[in-house]
Assembly symmetry: C2
């Protein structure tokens, strides 16, 4: 790719971005679009009625007020608006900006000149715009040149800087997590664990209890009209369930006495929620410490019979999980990782096949009426040029929902866990199918083959990666920038809203504030980070464009968090470890490529001296895992006790305990929500797919 | 190797074994050898004075009474004699006997005839004794023959049988472990955790306490004679330590109050044992559950500052660990695994170099006076034949102590942990340097190279492993059987004892009962298990010899546990998971070889159909890990509470609590043991190297 071509592409995309920004700044001021651009405000203030009438000219003029608002947003405001998860999300941008500002300074002012004044590539064009982009990359440095030691030092310095920033950020995040815990009011999930019971002992208890309910249910049904009982068979059963936690708690507690040998030191609240097929129960305790003790110590002799898990927030529970049978969950738990692995590794095979099928001749056969149009040179060129990438995009479109479904049936008990798992899956998917697929530019099987011979990986990568520099530079400019402006512009919701207003005329009673799809956005951002880290010393020209990307993202996502998205759950920053792991992986990948490059460039000493770098990075990573990861899994005794003590004598606690008993109730089993209960089983991921 | 050669070797070794057994049965009856062959009895009954005088003819006749005694030993007796660790050790033999009896039946009656009646190898000799051993191996089955499906089925059936037996044994061991826990009296380590404190908060506390002691130590020293204080500077310091736990406990407890925010729910016994350099303390609790709670829940916000570990038995504590500085331990923790890996992988390189140096000419140059003898053909043949293997054995001799030292400086707090870690290290060492070195029969670097190309591993192994069948059969017969008889005969202690009686004439006041060196014996036995499992379907001829090995081992080790070894600590069966892992590894290795073999034998369908086998085995393994491993790490609440309750009102508990305070005291810091305290620092592993 020539420099001039890159500059053209940059110009076009910059223009598009500006256009989108301008349109956005006008459209957002139209009252009709409030549902699209500020659903949070609508939800909060219900102010649409007032504004809709007024009209003034200012509404039609583009303005940059939203940029200022987003810029001025403080961290505390983000915390109050979107919780710690929102803060983690924005910190990804700040962290990346810091990393790539330093990388940019080193790359542009030191590495770029070194690369440019090499003459390994015989470049005939002296004129700058006609220079190939490769002359700015490490490929242009002469083999065996001592200038490569500049790159070598850069790799060490950059790794040190990234690790330092990463440590700081991890430290900051842990502190925030603890601070948020301290400042939070007592919440049901802090006092509750989820208890899976597959022992015959408890099973018998439940059977006993069940018999009781059956008897009572029968008595009840005789009191009610016989017809209703028949029609609402399923709901009649749920009615029984609800009555359980209200009326027969006493009886159940007596039964519990027989089995809580091991737990007499903690007060139980008898909030058993028990289901027909899965003997799982939310068990709440009087203190956070009580819940932690029951969670962390193995209870029974057979650890597979008494399994405990941290309870998610009540709003975060993935209830569909509970209605799946044990065998079904067990099978899915084994099958899903395999299916996910297969999808990631073999994804490109069907794509290539479909791309092969969808050529011009085939289209003419399928749609004869297009023959006239297709014979035009311009049209045929556009189609042959864009059809393959259109197909790729189309396939790509389906991957996030598939990953989400995979995670959902894998057996996680909460939506947040599902999203986190989907987030990791998506990250691997993008790294494999965008990075490695483009770099190795072969079939999926060829890629797999490379990784079966680990000895050759550095060499193969070092040969292939620098060659794709120009592709990834334009990828940042086109895909990266465009994704951000479309995020801001929200084209699909805009069209939908327009359509609705035009035809249905309903005033949006079923309106719901969307939540930020972390599982889709975080991997994308992290992937750009990976590109920056791996190409930092290969082709530093990528860095300015990445910096623009992260700047734009910083502003846009802060704006969206403020106006558009409302959190559906709060994991208290549990997404952060994914960011950490991805960054460490990027660093190691960079080291492997560097190891190969110095070998190819006939500087074997540099290759050898590079070996300590990944080792040190991995030690750093191990330290961070020891130091910070436990905090992201559970809170330490120190915090639990401090918080428990603080609230011991507070007035609201008895009220809170009373509420705790009924905090976890399957919405499908609640009589109020008859209408929704049927939806639940067919679309367990409703909240996520709506986003 | 020809069948006749094998039979000769078997005959010779069987004769040697019988000779050793006969000598043993005579020598053990001589009163002077009681120290060698029955130190346990000596220690227990102190009966040597009575017996030494009597003499009768029966003492000179060989007898098999010891075999009967060993055979009749019941499991409960083993438990009472050697604890659960001894039982685990004997169960390795019972388990192996079960596995290889079934394998033997399948192998000898089904696989062996199938192999023998193939004709892939053109064997010119029709006479049975002249048959090559290879004609009994899978190499003799014709390529692509359908008879290979017999081997295929055997692999599946055998894997199923082993997994079934493994599960049963694991189940049995867990049950025994729990039963032993229930039947044990209250023991200090059950109530105690080891607490590493590197926080400034606690550091300040300790500094405060230290100042106190320093003041008091000064006052004390002024009361004592000035001279004694100077001479016993080191011991004066330890005196201070002891006084700490006796007199100033109260003061310390007050100080503790400031930092036990997070632990008010459990009663502490103020048994702080604190050291100058390492801020580590044994903290005892009033109940087992209290200790478990403090152990399992992360205490402080920074998990690296408050580290807790299970306390070992007082007799099991590796006190040298505490005198190493923090930085030293941290560095060793990183360096030791690398050093151990290097030793395992590169061990053969120096051996080969030394073997190359120590040839006949070199010997003549070094020891000119041997020239005459060396020129004899017989002598030179023996030397060229045996010298390399002698050198190998000599090098081998140093490996177990090295591994033990590695584990000791790696930072384990107890001797049992050190032995367990050394046991795993030795296992890997033997597998790599005996199995793979012989199979791949190349240089160490060639071996490493094979494993860097994982795709080729099955093919390379399938080509190489069957060829070494005859070597490993004779390895079992020579090395295996010999090791057992020398274990029984105890040549080195016998000679030492003889020497002592001849020259020193002391009546063994410093006599110590040895403990079984698990770290050396378990890996050897497991390695024979690995040989059996991998060669089961390749060369079933190995199985009868293995069965003899395990039968002999069963009798001999039971005899030794009864008469010779006394346990120095009790891990309550924690060695078992090593046996489990080794067996699963052997199975997977067998599957990989089988996969390669069916490929080589042109039966690709069988190769493909074999893939589920390792996958299923790994799933089985994962299940076992979930089901049983937690029990081998810590006891569940159910057991702890049951035991705590049982003892709540027992009379001896107050007395026990009083003893608990002083249970953990560094022998080097105890005034009684002045004489021994100097030994400790120079030979931290005294108890193990004596064995």
């Amino acid at each position: 790719m020539l420099l001039s071509a890159l500059l053209t592409s940059v110009g076009i995309n910059l223009g598009l971005c500006l256009l989108f920004f301008t349109l956005y700044s006008i459209l957002r001021k139209q009252p009709g679009n409030l549902y699209v651009y500020a659903p949070r405000l609508v939800d909060k203030e219900k102010s649409r009625q007032q504004e809709s009438g007024d009209f003034d000219l200012e509404r039609l003029l583009p303005s940059a007020g939203w940029v200022r608002n987003a810029w001025q947003l403080s961290e505390d405001e983000i915390l109050s608006v979107s919780g710690l998860d929102g803060l983690v999300f924005t910190r990804i941008f700040t962290f990346s900006l810091r990393v790539f500002t330093i990388a940019g300074v080193i790359g542009i002012f030191i590495l770029l000149p070194v690369n440019y004044f090499g003459n390994q590539l015989s470049d005939d064009f002296d004129h700058l715009p006609n220079k190939s982009l490769d002359s700015f990359s490490i490929s242009n440095v002469n083999d065996g040149s001592n200038r490569l030691w500049v790159h070598f030092s850069a790799a060490y310095i950059f790794t040190g800087v990234v690790c330092y920033l990463l440590y700081n950020e991890h430290n900051y995040m842990s502190a925030k997590r603890i601070a948020c815990f301290y400042s939070s009011k007592p919440q049901p999930h802090q006092f509750t664990i989820l208890w899976f019971i597959e022992t015959s002992k408890i099973q018998n208890l439940i059977n006993d209890a069940d018999k009781l309910y059956r008897k009572l249910g029968w008595m009840k049904s005789n009191n009610h009209s016989q017809q209703k009982f028949r029609r609402d068979g399923f709901l009649g059963l749920t009615g029984r369930k609800v009555s359980l936690s209200d009326h027969y708690e006493k009886k159940l507690e007596d039964l519990e006495d027989n089995v809580r040998d091991g737990a007499e030191f903690i007060g139980w609240r008898g909030a058993w929620h028990q289901f027909l097929e899965v003997p799982a129960a939310f068990v709440s305790f009087k203190s956070r410490l009580g819940a932690a003790v029951a969670l962390h110590i193995q209870q029974g002799v057979n650890p597979t019979e008494w399994v405990t898990e941290q309870a998610p927030e009540p709003r975060d529970v993935h209830w569909a999980f509970f209605s799946a049978s044990f065998i079904k969950r067990w099978i899915f738990k084994l099958v899903v990782p395999v299916a996910c692995f297969a999808l990631i590794v073999l994804y490109l095979i069907p794509v290539v096949i479909v791309q092969g099928l969808a050529n011009l001749d085939q289209l003419e056969t399928w749609f004869p009426f297009l023959k006239g149009i297709l014979s035009l040179t311009v049209v045929s060129q556009v189609i042959t040029g864009y059809l393959p990438s259109l197909i790729l995009q189309l396939f790509m479109f389906f991957v996030p929902p598939i990953m989400l479904t995979f995670s959902a049936i894998q057996g996680y008990i909460s939506r947040s866990q599902i999203e986190r798992s989907a987030c990791s899956k998506m990250l691997w998917f993008i790294i494999w199918n965008v990075f490695f697929a483009n770099v190795l530019s072969g079939s999926a099987l060829y890629e797999v083959n490379v990784f079966l011979e680990p000895k050759n990986i550095p060499r193969v990568l070092a040969e292939a990666v620098p060659g794709q520099a120009s592709f990834f530079i334009s990828y940042v400019v086109t895909s990266g920038w465009t994704k951000l402006s479309s995020e801001l512009f929200r084209l699909t919701p805009l069209v939908c809203s327009f359509w609705k207003r035009l035809f249905s005329r309903k005033d949006g009673n079923e309106f719901e504030v969307p939540s930020l799809p972390y599982y889709n956005d975080i991997p994308t951002i992290l992937f750009f980070g990976l590109l920056g880290i791996t190409y930092f010393f290969l082709a530093p020209l990528i860095l300015p464009f990445l910096l623009v990307y992260f700047c734009l993202g910083y502003i846009i996502f802060r704006n969206q968090l403020l106006n558009v998205y409302a959190p559906k759950y709060e994991t208290n920053g549990k997404f952060w470890p994914i960011v950490h792991n991805s960054t460490v992986f990027s660093l190691i990948l960079m080291h492997i490529i560097a190891f190969g490059i110095f070998g190819l460039k006939k500087l074997p000493l540099a290759s050898t001296l590079l070996i300590p770098l990944p080792v040190l990075t991995l030690i750093f990573n191990a330290y961070c895992q020891n130091r910070f990861l436990p905090l992201f899994k559970a809170y330490p005794t120190e915090c639990l006790v401090k918080q428990d003590r603080k609230e011991q004598n507070e007035a609201g606690m008895t009220e809170f305990y009373d509420k705790l008993v009924t905090a976890y109730q399957d919405p499908a089993l609640m009589p109020v929500q008859y209408a929704r209960s049927t939806d639940r089983d067919t679309s367990p991921l409703l909240h996520s797919t709506e986003v």
